[in-house]
């Protein structure tokens, strides 16, 4: 095949064709899984295979599927896990009815974003409480440290003598 320089020129030629072809040719219809499987096994007519290849050229995400499908036909039997088998078997009840699939709560992947959100809320509550407590303490200490006016002192502490006369030996 061509060397690196030639390959670049060839790539440019291909893209030029593709750019010119876009819009001139109708988008081919997506083939169903059975048609793709038939193509993978070379069981389509030339015309039908052409239609599939036309579509595949615009859908590269399906190319590995077809390579894997071709290999699967020759691959040796591989058992599935017991869990996968049990889950899938449980989809059909004894009477043949299809049971709705409920993903087990434990198996549901919990979003890390939810955990982070809850942790953030808890942390903000703690921080707010601490900041509020510290502000209150600072305010109290500041007021006590300075020479309080009599009125302010009364607000902070109970009046002197409030409880006078309430001792046991008070005169009755």
């Amino acid at each position: 095949m061509a060397g690196p320089v030639d390959r670049t020129a060839e790539a440019a030629l291909w893209r030029r064709w593709r750019s010119a072809a876009a819009g001139q040719m109708p988008e081919p219809a997506e083939p169903d899984a059975l048609t793709l499987a038939a193509w993978a096994e070379d069981r389509l007519s030339e015309a039908d295979a052409g239609g599939v290849e036309e579509w595949l050229a615009g859908h590269p995400e399906f190319w590995p599927d077809l390579a894997a499908a071709r290999q699967a036909a020759q691959a040796p039997y591989m058992p599935g896990t017991e869990k996968a088998i049990a889950q899938a078997s449980a989809l059909i009840a004894g009477g043949g009815e299809v049971l709705p699939f409920r993903r087990p709560a434990a198996a549901r992947p919990r979003s890390w974003r939810v955990a982070v959100a809850w942790a953030g809320m808890a942390a903000s509550l703690v921080v707010t409480s601490l900041v509020g407590f510290n502000l209150g303490m600072d305010t109290y200490n500041g007021i006590v440290a300075s020479a309080p006016a009599a009125g302010v002192q009364d607000l902070l502490d109970p009046p002197v003598g409030l409880f006078n006369g309430l001792e046991e030996d008070a005169t009755i």
Binding site: W14, A20, A21, A57, P60, G80, A93
Partner: protein, 177 residues
């Protein structure tokens, strides 16, 4: 393969046929979805999604399978991988890391409007496919040969013929008055 599977009983929802089908093909489905899934994804979960899709709406998808057109393993592999990709896309989980995507696919092509009338059938579908794999996906000849199930020499020959057609066509267009 399909001969071991009672498709008629399966489509009727026969429990025994379904269990036998699951036991026979769960491993194949698992291999298929594992190749599509990435780290952090529950493969067994994806397997279950595939079997759900197969029996949904009274086995609508399973009833479309025709053994005269393709093997059951081949068809199931395509269905499994396609279902897994759809599920992962819905969950918006990364399937392919960006580093794995060829740069050619990431780069935005400059807007070029070329007023060129291309003759119909200039390139065959197979030629277009090979060129797309080579230049859009940066695949090697051996990879393309495996993907298409052909000999590497066939890929080279297809490429050569396609490039010859393109060079001739564009040279002709450029020489027109």
């Amino acid at each position: 393969m399909a001969q071991d599977t009672d498709l008629a009983a399966l489509s009727r929802g026969d429990k025994g046929a379904w269990d036998a089908f699951v036991r026979r093909y769960a491993g194949l489905v698992m291999s298929a979805v594992r190749a599509v899934a990435r780290d952090g994804v529950d493969v067994e979960d994806l397997v279950q999604e595939v079997f759900v899709r197969l029996c949904k709406d009274e086995f609508r998808l399973l009833k479309t399978y025709d053994p005269s057109r393709a093997g059951l393993s081949t068809w199931l592999t395509i269905v499994a991988r396609s279902t897994a990709r759809d599920v992962l896309r819905r969950r918006q989980l990364p399937v392919t890391p960006i580093e794995a995507v060829p740069e050619a696919q990431l780069a935005t092509a400059p807007v070029q409007t070329e007023r060129l009338r291309l003759p119909e059938g200039l390139l065959s579908p197979r030629q277009k496919l090979v060129l797309s794999m080579l230049y859009d996906r940066d695949m090697e000849v051996a990879e393309i040969a495996t993907a298409l199930g052909v000999d590497p020499q066939t890929v080279r020959s297809t490429h050569h013929k396609a490039m010859l057609k393109l060079r001739t066509h564009f040279a002709t267009e450029e020489n027109k008055p």
